[in-house]
Symmetry: C2
C-alpha cells in the first residue's frame, strides 16, 4: 500500500513523555539475534536531539555508547542541550530500560558556511549494484531490511575464504523496502557494517559494538537530493587485540559524495 | 631538580571537591594561543574517570566534546559511572567554568582477556628521531612542551609548500622535559596533531577541535614498558567541507606497537 509507513519510520517513532524525554519501542523488523540493530539504537538517540524543538544547525557528530544489552519492549530516552553557541550546539542523550542505563550519547550540530573544500580520499571503484548478487541471509530481523551487495569482502556465509582474511568490505546498501535518505536513516547506516572480526576469522564469534562515533559531511539538502538511491559503503579495521577491535567506515553517494564517516570499537571474544 | 614535578603532572592535578567532582586549573605551560591545549582538556576529563576509586578495567575509549572556549582559571569537573557490567564500564563526565558547560565527555573501560590478535595496519617507516630536526616554534605554551620531529608533512612555518598540500603528517613526539608514558599522557597525545586544515592550506586559519574520540589499544603494563621513549604519530584527513574537516591519527611505540587511534572533527573558517 502506498500509504503504509516504512518499518524504519515505525521503529524510530518517539512518543513524547516530557519536554526532554521520550518513549521508544523495540521493533521485530529491526531485531538482531540478541537485541535491536545497533544502528537503530543510534538512530533513536540521534533523532531525540535532532527532532527536539531546541535543536539548531546541521548534524555534525554523534557518539553512542552501547552500555548494556537491550531487551524487547520500551526504552526511555532523554535529550538535553549541553551548550548552545552562536554557530554550534552540543547535546547529551541517555537511554534507560527498566531503570538502568543501556546507552549514553552525545551529538553536535552547527552552521555550515561555504569554505575551502577538499577531499583527500577517493570513492571506491566498484561494479554496478545491478551486476552484483544480493547477500544471502537465512535469518530474520534487521538484515532483511537491507539489500546488501558486496563488491569486496563479503561475509563467510556468502563466500568462505581462508582465515585470517581481509578486514575490508565494500558494498552497495539499499533499504528494503526503499526509503528516502534522511539523517535518521544515515545515522543508522553508520552502524550497518558487520564487526570486522567475523570477516577476518571467517566464522561467527561473539561480538558487539561498544562505542560508535559518526561524523556527518552532508547537509539536509544534500540528503534530500539522494532520494532512495543506494549508498556505497566501505569498512575496515586497524587492530584486533585482547578482546576489542577498531573499525572505520565511509558512506558515499553513488555519484561520489562522502556523506558520513564512522568509527567504532567492537567487543569480541575469540580465543587465540 | 630531580624531585621537581613535571609540568604535565601539575597541569593535570585534580583537587577533590565531592565524591564525583574535582577542581582543575589551567596551566600556562600548556596554554594554546586562545585556550588550554585541547589534549590537556581531554587528559583532565579522562583522568577524572580513570583516577576515580569506582573505575574498573583498562581504558578503552574516550570521547571529548569541546563545547566552548575555556578561560584561564578554575574548571569544575564531574565524573560518574553510567553503567558497570561484569567486564565493561561506561562513564559520563562534564567540565564547567563559571557555571557554563565547556566540555562533555564519555569514557569506557574494560577487561582485556587474551584473544585472537591481528593488525591490518603497518607502522610508518621513518628516519630515526636523531636524524630529524626539531620543529621550530617561535611562540610559547604547550608546543614548547613537546619535541616534535617531522618525517613527513611538517607545518608551513618549518617548510612552506604549494597549497593545497597533503593532509598527512608523520612525526616523532617526545615530551620536553621527558615524562614516563601513562594513560593520562597518552590521552593528551591523541590530540597533539595540528588541525589538518593548516597543512593543506599552508597558512594559519581559525580552527579548533570540536569533538575527539580516542581508542586505546595498549594496557597499563604496555605503557609502563615504554618509559619516556618517543612516540611515533601519524595524522591524516578524509574530507574538508563547509567549515569542518575530519582527522584520524595513530600513535605507535618505537618498536611497532599501535598504542592508540583517534578521530576528530575540526571546525575551520577559511573562505573558498
Amino acid at each position: 500500500m502506498a500509504n503504509e509507513r516504512h518499518p524504519f519510520d515505525i521503529a524510530t517513532d518517539l512518543e513524547q513523555e516530557g519536554d526532554d524525554s521520550w518513549i521508544a519501542r523495540t521493533s521485530d523488523a529491526y531485531w538482531n539475534m540478541v537485541g535491536p540493530f545497533g544502528g537503530l539504537v543510534a538512530a533513536l538517540l540521534f533523532k531525540s536531539a535532532f527532532s527536539h524543538p531546541d535543536r539548531e544547525g546541521e548534524p555534525l557528530a554523534l557518539t553512542v555508547n552501547f552500555c548494556a544489552a537491550i531487551a524487547k519492549g520500551e526504552m526511555q530516552i532523554t535529550a538535553r542541550p549541553a551548550r548552545t553557541n552562536r554557530s554550534t550546539q552540543h547535546w547529551t542523550m541517555t537511554m534507560f530500560q527498566a531503570g538502568e542505563c543501556v546507552a549514553t550519547a552525545t551529538a553536535m550540530f552547527g552552521k555550515r558556511p561555504e569554505t575551502f573544500a577538499g577531499r583527500p580520499v577517493e570513492p571506491p571503484i566498484v561494479p554496478s549494484l545491478e551486476s552484483l548478487p544480493r547477500m544471502p541471509w537465512p535469518g530474520s530481523g534487521w538484515i532483511e531490511r537491507f539489500d546488501l551487495r558486496f563488491a569486496e569482502g563479503e561475509p563467510f556465509w556468502a563466500n568462505q575464504r581462508e582465515e585470517p582474511s581481509s578486514a575490508r568490505s565494500t558494498l552497495w546498501i539499499a533499504s528494503d523496502p526503499p526509503r528516502p535518505m534522511d539523517f535518521v536513516g544515515l545515522a543508522a547506516l553508520t552502524d550497518i557494517f558487520f564487526g570486522r572480526i567475523i570477516h577476518v576469522r571467517q566464522r561467527m564469534v561473539p561480538f558487539g559494538t561498544v562505542t560508535l562515533t559518526s561524523y556527518f559531511h552532508a547537509t539536509e539538502n544534500d540528503l534530500a537530493e539522494l532520494g532512495s538511491n543506494p549508498i556505497l559503503g566501505t569498512a575496515d579495521a586497524r587492530i584486533f587485540d585482547r578482546g576489542f577491535h577498531d573499525q572505520s567506515a565511509e558512506l558515499w553517494s553513488g555519484d561520489g559524495r562522502l556523506l558520513a564517516t564512522s568509527h567504532q570499537l567492537v567487543y569480541y571474544r575469540d580465543p587465540a
